[in-house]
Amino acid sequence: MSEVSMLGAINMAMARALEDDPRVVLLGEDIGVNGGVFRATDGLQDRFGEDRVMDTPLAETVLAGMSVGLAAQGFRPVTEFQFMGFIYPGLDQVINHVGRLRNRTRGRLSCPLVFRAPTGAGIHAPEHHSESTEALFAHIPGIRVVIPSSPSRAYGLLLSAIHDPDPVMFFEPTRLYRASKEEVEDSGEGLPLDVCFTLREGSDVTIVTWGACVKETLSAATQLAGEGISAEVIDLATISPIDFDSILASVEKTGRLVIVHEAPRNCGVGAEIAARVAERGLLFLQAPVERVTAPDAVVPLLRLEKTYMPGEKQIVDAARRVVRYA
């Protein structure tokens, strides 16, 4: 066991997958000698060679599309897009091919790939380096969307994503890459996809979140506890499909729901969770659902990014409001 950051855990998971499964190959811009702009692939080309860890030209459409070809041929490509803001030239492939190849051929061909991309604001990066557009991917049938929120979950979920026989979009919160370290055992064991993780039990309010916002949400929960409000914190982890049964069970217990995400509010993934509660959990609700999100505005450059991102205070405020609602 060693203490690793989320980046370290991601690197460890990829190394393990490369080690254990000859079908696994890594593709992406600057992932070789340079080890990726965040160093997620640091040392892997050295260790596994240029046939397993491939630097590609700067061309995301073919990067996405060739991954489909490799996957159909039985490889397990793990493809890095340098930032979520640069995966869009590959969206055509994601929508029109990645999520359809198995279905279209009635199982003859399949598409077991992982597309990795850093997500989120808060690291003072230039424009387009702060995206949280997981909702776009969550709406696309035939693919999974996963966002880890701790080193150990990053390790376990990434390994499962790579092992999964179907395509997974794996978005890594840059704000958490080096935020903290944790003991992570390089066990080669994945964590289950398709289920959420209850990070803190509570009885007064359910707070569902994912990715970098888990950090502020857990702090908020601590603060709320100080005020006598017991918050249950759920990390969605697999963004699509949503493990709604677990959320519903929690809302049944607490009667209150706050959803926190960094993406813009309109048609964000928070909407889907709130909608399902309106469909299946209406009678459990003792207060309106609240969403704490970024506004429906473009992610600003760094001078305003803090204003844009949901913070601990807004989470605490929302939780207080729903708990005190009468």
Binding site: V25, D51, T56, P57, A59, T61, V62, A64, G65, M66, S67, V68, G69, L70, A71, A72, Q73, G74, F75, P77, P89, D92, Q93, N96, H97, R102, N103, R104, T105, R106, G107, R108, L109, S110, P141, G142, R144, P165, D166, D194, P241, I242, D243, F244, D245
Partner: protein, 369 residues
Amino acid sequence: MGAIPLNKRLVPPTGEDRIAAEFQIPYRQYLDASASLVAEPPEFARNPGIMISLYRAMTLSRIFDAKAIALQRTGQLGTYPSSAGQEAIGVGYASAMQAVDAMTTTYREQPAQLWRGVTLVELLRFWGGDERGSDFSVPREDFPVAVPIASQAPHAVGIATAFKLRREPRVAVCALGDGASSKGDFYESINLAGVWQLPVVFIVINNGWAISLPREKQTATETLAQKAIAGGIPGIQIDGNDIIAAHQVCSEAITRARSGGGATVVEAVTYRMGDHTTADDASRYRREELVSAAWKLDPLARLRNYLANRQWWSKTDEEQLIAECREKVEAAVAEYMKLPPPSPADMFDYLFETLPPALQWQRKQFTGG
């Protein structure tokens, strides 16, 4: 903006320039429109067995095509894209491939698909709106038809990368249209194929039209083959209605790819004889004279004349072949008609290897279960 005449836009170097790079795009034709040999043909063209087998495949495709259009007109098939007039290049490159090779393709490559082993029934099923038509029983690794134009080019690059990584002597072949040659996916693909020296061959089926847009409004380039220069790979233009050039040049390119020589772009000049699809009416944008002129270049007639000129093919052979093809097609139609319809559960059962628990209620709901 109106059509801009094709002209020599390339500005000649001035006195003070030196030349950094020079390129030539060759053109290949053996059999001209009158079925005369204009160049010394390769060995296989002297082999009646081979030439007749190519002719038979082209004929079957043509007869299937006419039937498919008729079925669409009577509501028994969905929108269908005719491949009439393009049989030489389709059969040409497919017959240059080995069974272990893999193909990614557009929707107009029935001649090649049939040669590769896709069945008439599978084609009917697919064009009849049933995904099971893409579950090919034979070329298991060939990709199904890609409708989003040029999006299959990156797939071929990925397949070729797989072959290269596994050090297998196999080649990926990607067929795409003149319209597709304008798309970024194509360019990014030839660039990657070039720099990684991948075993992939791009066949640009230049049939003169992308729906209503004529070739000369698609790009200002003198040829489509020269797009290869942007990827640092060889490009060659051929008479795509000349089965000898089609089979020969594709064989050369595929052999080069197989032996580690890297990728090639082959531009096959042919003509889309029919409407774009059964949903199109080409008379809105294309003068009838163009089509009648193009019929004079018909690859089927040309090859038939070549065979007949050599006494390898008689009127009786022709009548027999047509009858035989019709029979095959009718048998396929009959089988197609009696296949059970797809089940609503299929919408869910092939989405993932195992349907995630969270989606199971939807499967129940939509299958009335």
